[in-house]
């Protein structure tokens, strides 16, 4: 089955068209009639959120759907279509509270548990609605949109060079990936036939992945009640953040891509860092694999089968832990530096945990071999961007990130971001069906999806 990558609407001349992007079939377009369009939900369950977002953004009716509730327009949102060009307000007024119809299971002894948007830990806001039979989770509905900032609308009408700081701060976990995606679009808009891979960018991207993975291998066991791993792994994450600060002046690499960053100067620091991390992660793996009570908790928890992973078009760590070969880094450029696609088979929390350790080791190896091969890159100096539609893909620490920009009269006419989390959130409820509610934090953390990137 062809993988659905993204689906969104945009205004063209006097019409509205729906753009659907598939992995094999590429870009498909369809002009809207009667303000309605036919749903793809039957074939691609992950189209649901895309279509609900189209409904919110443009006010288009979805035909043949079983879910037409608003996604980002919450209870007090007025009835507006913010992505239409005619909408220019920067302030909206609240309307009367309209309850959201949660999907839940009803029955004797079955009860609902609402979690969020304010959670117990220091995490982002999102809502989880459980239907419970005792401790057993029967069903979970994930509801997001609390962090909806209207970034797509904010970028419209701006020049391509004026959105770097905003793109940088969409999701702190994937900042460098977002910046690289934008950089690739700039290169395309300058007329480059093919985007030349840049080693400096690749190294920074791997460092970002390392920060994210180190944090996760600490937090996953921590949510299973094993706090010592967080202590050790947070040290590795902290050291990586400090290294990023030395290299880019920001602990998250904000606003670094496209600037003159000379990693070559810091080669010694990088080499020292790699050799220390190589030792640390080897020790960590050796230690954590030897703790049976932890593995009792992680094994067979939160299983996503390979069939489900394909059907829900999952990407990134979640897909690779189910055995799918999906990675945007799977190309000649990365392979020459020792990249190997890492996979696990079982699709449970333990697989995602082990996969992260494998990817950490591979990332360290990639950075090490890239250090011997610095080339001179000239950053973009002239700014004559051609109008047109551009698409770029980057493998962020969560998964494949897609950025679409349409330039018209030298300004952005439409910007669409498909964060990997947006797809993967939609399959989270499938992992819960054979687990108890206490396993939820563990399963959620093992996917570690972004809320900010999903809401925009």
């Amino acid at each position: 089955m062809d993988r659905l990558i993204a689906r969104f609407a945009q205004e063209v001349e006097n019409d509205i068209e729906i753009v659907t992007i598939y992995e094999k079939a590429g870009i498909q377009r369809e002009i809207i009639q009667d303000n309605s369009f036919i749903s793809l939900q039957e074939k691609h369950p992950s189209a649901i959120w895309f279509e609900r977002k189209i409904y919110d953004d443009f006010g288009l009716r979805i035909i043949k759907t079983y879910d037409n509730r608003p996604l980002t327009h919450h209870e007090r949102f007025p009835n507006i279509s913010p992505m239409r060009k005619s909408f220019t307000d920067t302030q909206i007024n609240e309307v009367k509270f309209k309850p959201y119809r949660y999907k839940s299971i009803k029955g004797d002894g079955v009860f609902n548990v609402s979690v969020g948007p304010i959670h117990t830990g220091i995490i982002e806001p999102g809502h989880f609605h459980f239907s419970q039979a005792g401790e057993r989770i029967l069903f979970l509905e994930v509801r997001h949109g609390y962090k909806y900032r209207g970034i797509e609308k904010m970028c419209e009408g701006k020049e391509l060079d004026k959105i770097d700081t905003i793109i940088s701060r969409i999701s702190g976990n994937e900042s460098i990936a977002y910046q690289i995606a934008l950089y690739q679009i700039k290169e395309q808009a300058l007329g480059a036939d093919e985007v030349v891979p840049n080693i400096q960018h690749a190294i920074l991207l791997e460092l970002e992945r390392l920060v994210h993975h180190f944090t996760d291998i600490g937090f996953i066991p921590n949510d299973g009640g094993f706090g010592a791993s967080l202590t050790i792994a947070s040290l590795m994450a902290e050291e990586t953040k400090r290294l990023l600060e030395t290299l880019t002046n920001s602990r998250f690499g904000f606003d670094c891509i496209g600037k003159d960053i000379e990693l070559e100067k810091n080669r010694e620091i990088l080499i020292e860092y790699i050799s220390k991390m190589d030792k640390d992660i080897a020790w960590f793996e050796d230690w954590i694999m030897d703790i049976p009570s932890l593995w009792d908790r992680l094994d067979t928890t939160g299983i996503l089968t390979t069939e489900q992973a394909i059907h829900y078009n999952t990407i990134g760590v979640v897909a690779r832990s189910c055995g799918l070969k999906l990675d945007r880094r799977d190309n000649e450029f990365y392979k020459q530096y020792g990249y190997k696609l890492q996979r696990e088979k079982k699709g449970d929390v333990a697989s995602r945990f082990k996969l992260r350790i494998k990817e950490i080791k591979n990332s360290l190896f990639i950075i090490k071999s890239m250090l011997n091969d610095f080339k001179d890159y000239s950053s973009i100096k002239h700014y004559n961007y051609e109008d047109g539609e551009y698409l770029s893909f980057v493998e962020s620490s969560i998964g494949e990130l897609m950025l679409y920009i349409k330039l018209k009269d030298s300004v952005i006419d439409r910007l669409f971001i498909r964060d990997p989390s947006f797809i993967n959130w939609q399959c989270l409820h499938l992992m819960m069906t054979s687990d108890i509610i206490a396993d939820f934090p563990l399963i959620n953390k093992s996917c570690d999806l972004s809320y900010a990137g999903c809401d925009l």
Binding site: T72, H74, R76, F77, I80, P82, F87, D89, T90, Q91, I92, P117, I118, T120, G121, I122, I123, E124, P125, G145, Y146, K147, Y148, R149, G150, I151, K153, M154, T165, I166, S168, R169, I170, S171, G172, N173, S175, T215, A228, T231, I232, S234, L235, A237, E238, K241, E245, R251, F252, F254, W283, D286, W287, D290, I291, S450, Y451, A452
Partner: protein, 170 residues
């Protein structure tokens, strides 16, 4: 477990091996006495993200790593607004989230303080434009006692900022 203890003994206490440790220790000492005076030895913080990019949250999580070890100063992040003395707000104030933010403030017992974290809660400081989905500065809706700026503020900045806030309470 023997492996862990071996490493633990070999590493010893990492908090004492920072290059800027002296400065940090001074700040931390000062902070500790303030906290004992003002909040019966422990300042409880409830952190709420009203639309940030997760960098501020990540830095607050980093505060509990062995390098910063905020807990030993008697400053804790707590699970509920009902346990908190201080509401730490990060991120732009979004239309969908600000009601929940106000709810959380109402749930807190008095005396209560609001501190904003990072550049986002102040629209003139952050990188975002006015938008229909953002309702504006947090200070418009809540009595903000102090602001810790930075995008994102480093863990060290956060500790220094908390100290400044407590100094002003004197």
């Amino acid at each position: 477990m023997i492996k862990f203890w071996k490493k633990r003994i070999k590493n010893s206490i990492l908090t004492e091996h920072l290059e800027y440790d002296k400065e940090l220790t001074n700040i931390q000492k000062e902070l500790k006495s303030f906290i004992s005076k003002k909040f019966a030895s422990s300042l409880s913080i409830r952190m709420i993200d009203s639309g940030s990019c997760n960098a501020c949250e990540s830095e607050c999580n980093a505060l509990s790593n062995p390098y910063y070890n905020l807990d030993r100063l008697g400053i804790n992040f707590v699970a509920s607004p009902r346990h908190a003395d201080m509401l730490l707000v990060s991120g732009v104030n979004t239309f969908n989230m600000y009601h929940h933010l106000l709810d959380a403030y109402l749930q807190m017992p008095s005396p209560k303080y609001v501190v904003t974290l990072g550049d986002c809660p102040i629209m003139s400081q952050n990188v975002f434009d006015e938008s229909f989905a953002i309702v504006g500065d947090v200070a418009k809706y809540l009595p903000v006692a102090y602001h810790i700026s930075g995008c994102p503020p480093s863990p060290n900045d956060i500790i220094v900022g908390l100290l400044e806030f407590l100094k002003r309470l004197k």
